[in-house]
Symmetry: C2
């Protein structure tokens, strides 16, 4: 394979990545703010922790630190345009809920809403944060997960024949999975 | 959308996720160890940081802390079986390089090799670590990124018509992207 070597930062080599939308309660403006994040990952099984990178300059960062909680909303490919818009607007300047007529779901445990359009939603309590270069890794403990009843199979695996998860590819482009490519490999050495 | 509420941990709601294989030098055994990780994320642009969750009980954890460096290898869908096997074998018990006849690429900056089969590889120096529940988030500063010359377009975006990135879906299942689904949405409110 012909290769090229390059400095870090010049390629989106770590994409595609699943998009999740972080929700934060904005008491001051009597609304909530929603921002798409792809630099995010589960961090622990026990306790169940999930981390999301947020720039300290954002309204989301300010709100999560203030309220001590956040929600995660996972959306399908059909919501690419909405997600893109959420990423372009600033919660400091615009009430995104109002401007985009977002339909919200109230929290069951937390008091921060999530997006009704999501096929999976989680409520998190902020339990820790780590400064990582120019971002803050917000560490949330998962309190409750709500999923569309038809979205997952009995093993808890996403049904790609029913849900087309939204993945970010870099450069303002989005993509989803190919359900026909799904495979359960036979490990080398399996008999 | 009919919903069900559930305790965290009972659904793979945060999948699919891009697979990356962490490489660590094993001086003691004069080999290297490779383990697939999906709980991983970029953490910062400047400096360029990448974080990967590793259980403290693993050989990878031991080796990365000892050597202070690790590599990342991103593989295509065709390597699902290899990745699955790398995840099943323990580096404490087996020399995976030997057992699986892995072809390695030496590092350019670090001295830890990566997998030659990868379409993208990165070399990281361990700069920090955070205990997150039952995992350690290893924080690496990206030193060098090497990519297959044909894998990315001029904007640095992965060419899905050429590369089928390997995504983990949970439950021992893998999937890749659908290149025909790629879109660059027009933001709501764009004129």
């Amino acid at each position: 394979m012909r290769q090229r070597s390059q400095s870090p930062g010049s390629a989106y080599f770590y994409y595609p990545r699943l998009v999740c939308v972080i929700g934060a309660r904005d008491d001051e403006k009597a609304t909530a703010n929603f921002a798409p994040v792809t630099w995010a990952t589960p961090l622990s099984c026990e306790p169940p922790l999930f981390g999301a990178c947020v720039s300290p300059s954002t309204r989301t960062h300010h709100l999560v630190l203030k309220t001590g909680e956040f929600t995660l909303s996972f959306l399908g490919m059909a919501e690419a345009s909405l997600v893109d818009t959420l990423g372009r607007l600033s919660g400091s300047q615009v009430d995104k809920v109002k401007a985009l007529e977002l339909v919200l779901e109230p929290g069951e445990v937390a008091t921060t809403p999530s997006l009704a359009a999501a096929y999976a939603r989680a409520e998190c309590i902020l339990v820790d944060r780590h400064q990582c270069g120019d971002q803050t890794l917000l560490v949330g403990e998962l309190q409750r997960v709500r999923v569309a009843a038809e979205a997952y199979d009995v093993q808890g695996v996403l049904r790609l024949d029913r849900i087309s998860p939204l993945l970010y590819l870099g450069g303002n482009r989005y993509v989803t999975t190919d359900p026909t490519s799904e495979s359960r490999p036979e490990s080398r050495g399996d008999r």
